[in-house]
């Protein structure tokens, strides 16, 4: 019999709709694998067997009744443990919320439940989304399935590892400064950071509200588009969601890149592992061979991205984490881990009287200049291609004692959050058996175009077939 955990979401969806497999049987296989691998990888904080089996049973009834279902019906999906799930403990990866059980669902959760997607578990993460490696979780680090001595990237560490190891077919994430794209790059996955406001933030534990983008990780580009079809759209509970209309993201996904203008901003190719540079350039050549035009370009304020981001983000973090006072829910502030404490102190400082102008106000001004860099460049090119990480997945423990070095892991991802534009991480090869990723970045609300470019490249290379040996 075929091992369903090795298939893509689209393939499994076809099996379900053709009644070649039952949703209960399918989810049983994924639950078994999740339990078996969790001891090794620590990608889940909770595996929700009871919820999953109940939901799967319902889907089998709907299929038996010949109901027309969304392709995600019956599909096992894991949720980053920042997503509020009614009746299912939601910890944010922090001991502060170790006992917190939400009484409502995040909008993304509601939408995925409404199309009968199955909740298989809640995934591990850097507590509150604070981290680039997964090591800041109060529930222990998650390990990279391609090399157990290395980090999987963070903060959506457990979500990436759950998908990469075949414990589910898609997982949600949040991306405030790279938290979906970096783990996607380190784990050979497609990871989408949508345009700010494309997907509702309601019910997702807030990190930095002007930067938080809600996305997901999958094995393939097509699978990724199927999930965005469900989660995208305006939400009355999040007033920053956009009313901009969108059509089926899988439509025209095979259109190709003929005549497309791809920009390569020089600032992103200066300070990185030369082998990663070679891989990204080689991917660009593949796209050129398929008919795209490559244009050298520049985003001149790139070097100020990390400074600007690490002022604005902790400022907003200190404000958002002020609500955890153990009066309405959760434990006291002494339970915050070291990284959350560090960011609360930093953000409180940069917002405090006498320092506000020099740090926060200055950063908000530079943020506008960074946004303008992108606006200008997208008058000349359709998409940009950039490396996602300057280094290969690093060793566990390598950067934990040096916050500044850890923050610099985000050098190629944070400018995109400051600008608010969408970015798709697409795997572009392996070095020493470790995955590498590149970003395809476009103007506001160009997710459909990003999928077309990613799909064209993926058809040529199929890196997703290179699975970890577990």
């Amino acid at each position: 019999m075929i091992d369903v955990t090795t298939l893509t979401l689209k393939e499994v969806s076809t099996l379900l709709s053709k009644k070649q497999i039952k949703a209960q049987e399918l989810n049983g296989s994924f639950l078994d694998r999740a339990h078996k691998l969790n001891k090794k990888l620590n990608s889940f904080i909770a595996i929700t067997d009871d919820v999953a089996i109940k939901q799967a049973k319902k889907v089998d009834e709907l299929i038996a009744d010949n109901q027309k279902l969304n392709p995600l019906a019956g599909i096992p999906i894991a949720f980053k443990d920042l997503f509020s799930t009614k009746g299912i403990r939601t910890t944010a990866g922090s001991k502060v919320l170790e006992n917190y059980v939400p009484v409502y669902d995040a909008t993304s959760v509601t939408r995925l439940k409404d199309v009968s997607a199955v909740i298989i578990g809640k995934t591990n993460l850097d507590a509150w989304g604070h981290g680039s490696s997964g090591e800041n979780s109060d529930f222990g680090p998650t390990l990279n399935p391609y090399d157990l001595t290395r980090v999987p990237g963070g903060s959506s560490s457990g979500s990436a590892v759950a998908v990469a190891s075949g414990a589910c077919l898609a997982a949600t994430g949040t991306d405030t400064g790279g938290s979906i794209r970096l783990p996607a790059a380190f784990c050979n996955l497609i990871g989408l950071k949508p345009t700010y406001g494309r997907v509702s933030r309601y019910g997702i534990i807030a990190m930095a509200s002007s930067l938080d983008s809600i996305g997901h990780l999958t094995k393939t580009v097509y699978d990724n588009a199927l999930v965005l079809n469900v989660t995208a759209g305006v939400d009355e509970f999040d007033s920053t969601t956009s009313t901009q209309k969108f059509e089926d993201y899988t439509k025209d996904i095979e259109k190709g890149v003929q005549g497309l203008r791809i920009g390569l901003p020089k600032e992103y190719f200066e300070k990185l592992d030369p082998k990663i540079k070679d891989s990204v350039i080689s991917a660009v050549k593949t796209l050129a061979k398929l008919g795209a035009t490559v244009i050298d370009d520049s985003l001149p304020h790139t070097e100020y991205g990390v400074s600007t981001y690490y002022i604005i983000q902790p400022s907003e973090v200190s404000s958002n984490l002020a609500r955890y006072d153990s009066i309405r829910f959760g434990f006291g502030r002494e339970k915050f881990g070291p990284e959350a404490k560090r960011r609360i102190i930093l953000g409180t400082y940069t917002l405090s009287a006498g320092y506000y102008d020099a740090y926060y106000l200055k950063a908000m001004k530079v943020r506008r200049l960074i946004r303008q860099d992108f606006e200008k460049v997208f008058k000349k090119v359709d998409v940009l291609i950039l490396p996602t990480s300057p280094t290969l997945p690093f060793n566990l423990g390598e950067k934990v004692d040096d916050p500044l070095t850890m923050y610099l892991s985000d050098i190629f991802t944070v400018p995109i959050n400051l600008a608010g534009v969408p970015s798709l991480n697409v795997p572009c090869g392996f070095i020493n058996n470790l995955p590498i990723g590149m970003q395809i970045v476009g103007p506001d609300f160009s997710e459909k175009l990003l999928y077309q470019v990613g799909y064209a490249y993926e058809q040529e290379t199929k890196w997703y077939q290179n699975k970890p040996k577990l």
Partner: protein, 106 residues
Amino acid sequence: MSKIKNQKSKVGEVSIDYVARLANLPLTSAEKKTFAKQLGDVLGYFSKLSEVDTAKVEPTGHITGLTNVVRGDQTAPSITQQEALSNAPRTYNVFFEVEAIFEEQS
């Protein structure tokens, strides 16, 4: 940016206590020492921003361009009082219970 330089040493030496008090955040003396050094490094790195001329740049808090988004003033089903209190460590009748903030007159 000499102003920032002074502030850097201040964070490194003096004001962690003050900032922790503003944030209502209990820190151990070991944490204070570690954070002071680490935050000094990070703030030092930020001084790079002084190179950027922002004299004529308006700040931006977010990139959506949206202003004053409101919804209709209509009632809709919400969580119950019991649900709202379900995670509270301490309740009194149907309220959250907190420490008294005014001292009783003796």
